[in-house]
């Protein structure tokens, strides 16, 4: 995951981009069910904004409102400064790539891609030229005469992308764009998507339930839960500084301990946790009431595992290794600490073979740096 985040170094600093999409206090109800609940959001031009959340969190409904397939029950949506109320899908400056790809089964690849341009009543030669260009871009030029049923999943995905891009939209909406692809193909396609996006400068809004996909693609992520946006931020912010237990738990894996704030200073805090069976020292201040109940979250890769007890009273606990999962690049240890809780620790396998590997049922000490714990108040 760390390498992936490094790839996001190219992300333009949020706030610098011109505002392109504004979702202003939008609510969508289906009968009594509130699918999208008072969401406010701005998306800058040229951004790749990911709406991330579990199924039924309202992310697809929000996307469909941007495309014009659903009408907000309350609130307004602005695209490029223009209020979208009452503007049908066929007049919006946005194109969508559907989760099912929705390729027209009775048309060839070229026919599918040309369909959007035909609606603009362009000259035939112009249509042919642009269809050829975009199919080159997605590397589907040899397949122009094929029908969708003659294509593999990855090829369908490219045609769907080409069909949405050929109209040169300012805004591209992607609903689970890589969901139907296998893992290898998905990674490859992610980077291709990024390349295409950079070249064309289109604003992407991507809906996904796959956090890895969101991390790789997004300049910013909006995490959704039960119709609300619970946090918006860059992938690094979301991962390293989650705003709530839900986000910390949803993005990546995390060890969470309930505790009580016992020392609250501007430059550090100390938390006593029964679940942890020890104290946590954090090297920065937080804003919470003294003696308040807080949650400490520590990512598995930020925990050290060793046989010696580290120095100092804080940030260390003893435990017994119960499970080891070797995943190739990393190994994941499940350690039962003295309080009875299981803690997940992941370590990169830096050397090919180590003689003194930690093994099952060994007694180990877990420790972490004072900057690692995330303190959450909600």
């Amino acid at each position: 995951m760390n390498e992936v985040q490094a790839a996001n170094g190219r992300a333009p600093a949020p706030g610098l981009a011109r505002e392109y999409v504004r979702v202003d206090r939008v609510t969508k109800k289906f009968g009594d069910f509130v699918a999208v609940d008072d969401v406010t959001l701005t998306i800058g031009q040229g951004e790749i904004f990911c709406l991330l959340g579990g199924s039924g969190c309202g992310k697809t409904t929000l996307l469909r409102m941007l495309a014009g397939f659903e009408t907000p029950s309350a609130g307004a949506i602005f695209i490029d400064g223009q209020d979208m109320a009452g503007i049908p899908p066929y007049e919006r400056p946005a194109n969508m790539m559907f989760q099912s790809y929705a390729l027209f089964p009775h048309m060839t690849v070229a026919g599918n891609v040309a369909f959007g341009l035909e609606q603009e009543r362009l000259a035939k030669a112009e249509i042919t030229r642009r269809v050829g260009e975009i199919l080159d871009l997605v590397k589907m030029a040899p397949y122009t005469k094929r029908k969708p049923h003659q294509l593999s999943g990855g090829q369908r995905q490219r045609v769907a992308l080409a069909r949405a891009l050929v109209k040169r939209p300012k805004l591209l909406l992607l609903d689970e764009p890589l969901g139907a692809l296998d893992k290898k193909l998905r990674e490859q396609t992610q980077f291709e998507l990024l390349g295409i996006q950079e070249r064309l400068g289109v604003t992407f809004v991507v809906v996904t339930h796959d956090q890895e996909e969101a991390m790789t693609l997004a300049t910013r992520i909006g995490v959704m839960d039960r119709g609300k946006i619970v946090q918006v931020g860059t992938p690094t912010e979301i991962y390293e500084y989650p705003a709530s237990r839900f986000v910390a738990d949803f993005i990546g894996s995390v060890n969470m301990f309930e505790g009580r704030l016992v020392e609250d200073e501007p430059d550090h805090v100390r938390i006593e946790s029964g679940e942890l069976g020890g104290t946590v020292y954090v090297d920065h201040g937080i804003s919470a009431a003294p003696e308040a109940t807080v949650w400490t979250a520590i990512r598995p890769e930020k925990i050290n595992i060793g046989r010696e007890r580290p120095e100092g009273p804080d940030n260390a606990v003893r435990g017994v290794v119960k499970e080891i999962a070797y995943m190739g690049d990393i190994s994941v240890f499940l350690v039962r600490i003295d309080s009875g809780r299981m803690v997940r620790v992941s370590r990169p396998n830096i050397v090919r073979q180590a003689d003194d590997r930690i093994s099952w049922d060994e007694t180990v000490y877990l420790s972490w740096h004072a900057s690692s714990p995330i303190v959450l108040t909600q």
Partner: protein, 282 residues
């Protein structure tokens, strides 16, 4: 094992005999020379004289042509209204009166024909008195009556076809800039074409062999083929009816067989293309 095979053979023979013996005997007797339908004139048979007589019989030829005309008009009208109803039921979501509409469009499927025919007759008579249209009863009233009951079949077929395909196809077309009317003609219509064609054929067939409703709403000089056959049989079966029926069976059977073969070929072709494409991507 062996006993089972014998049982299967017997069951198959008896089953087919039950279904097709009447038709085969009818075909057989159409080549009979005798005036009496049930007596085989071994000396002068087989003969084609009833087929010759059939093509000289103006009444039957006129009735057959009228039936074709009514069938074609009915099928076309039923496809038009049935598709509209099917679209509304499958695509327009829940609206006030949806259940009522769905019930009303499919009611003719279970309505006794006698009641449909009688009520239509009463309606036509009342309308003629009230607004002067339709003037008298004839091909027009038969067509209208046939549309009302065949439309239900088309609605059901179209609706189930629409329910079977992804409505994101229509959304995608709209998203690409197509207005609703264009979406219908470029995307929806081609995709439901098989349903429309089979709906048309079904409506045509239903109209073609309907006697009961036609009897109620027909007027003088507008006898359809089944009505003519029916009235001829009442005066005693004449062998030219056998000849006519034989021809009808042959025409219908060859259309059905050709259609099935064509569809199977298309399916095989499509399967092969899919396999080829997938193999290539490996």
């Amino acid at each position: 094992m062996k006993r089972r095979r014998i049982f299967q053979a017997v069951a198959l023979t008896v089953g087919f005999a039950f279904l097709y013996a009447p038709i085969l005997s009818m075909m057989f007797f159409s080549f009979n020379n005798s005036r009496l339908v049930t007596v085989w004139d071994a000396a002068n048979s087989p003969t084609l004289k009833w087929y010759v007589a059939l093509f000289r019989n103006e009444q039957i030829l006129d009735a057959a042509w009228l039936s074709v005309e009514i069938g074609a008009m009915t099928a076309t009208g039923a496809v038009f209204f049935g598709t509209l109803a099917g679209m509304v039921l499958a695509r327009f979501g829940p609206f006030r009166g949806r259940t009522l509409l769905s019930g009303m469009t499919t009611a003719p499927l279970v309505m006794p024909e006698v009641i449909t025919g009688l009520s239509l007759l009463l309606l036509f008579v009342a309308m003629e008195q009230a607004i002067g249209w339709p003037a008298g009863r004839g091909a027009l009233t038969i067509t209208i009556a046939h549309i009302t009951f065949t439309m239900a079949y088309v609605t059901v077929i179209v609706q189930s076809r629409l329910a079977g395909f992804d409505d994101s196809l229509e959304e995608a077309a709209m998203d690409l800039g197509a207005r609703p009317a264009r979406v219908f003609f470029r995307i929806t219509l081609p995709l439901i074409m098989p349903a429309i064609v089979s709906g048309w054929l079904l409506a045509f067939t239903l109209s073609w062999d309907d006697v009961v409703i036609s009897q109620f709403v027909a007027g003088p000089g507008s006898s359809t083929l089944p009505m003519v056959i029916f009235s001829k049989v009442r005066l005693g079966v004449s062998p030219d009816v056998n000849a006519l029926a034989t021809l009808l069976v042959i025409v219908v059977a060859s259309i059905v067989i050709a259609g099935t073969l064509w569809m199977r070929r298309q399916e095989r072709l499509r399967d092969r293309e899919t396999r080829l494409a997938l193999a290539e991507n490996k």
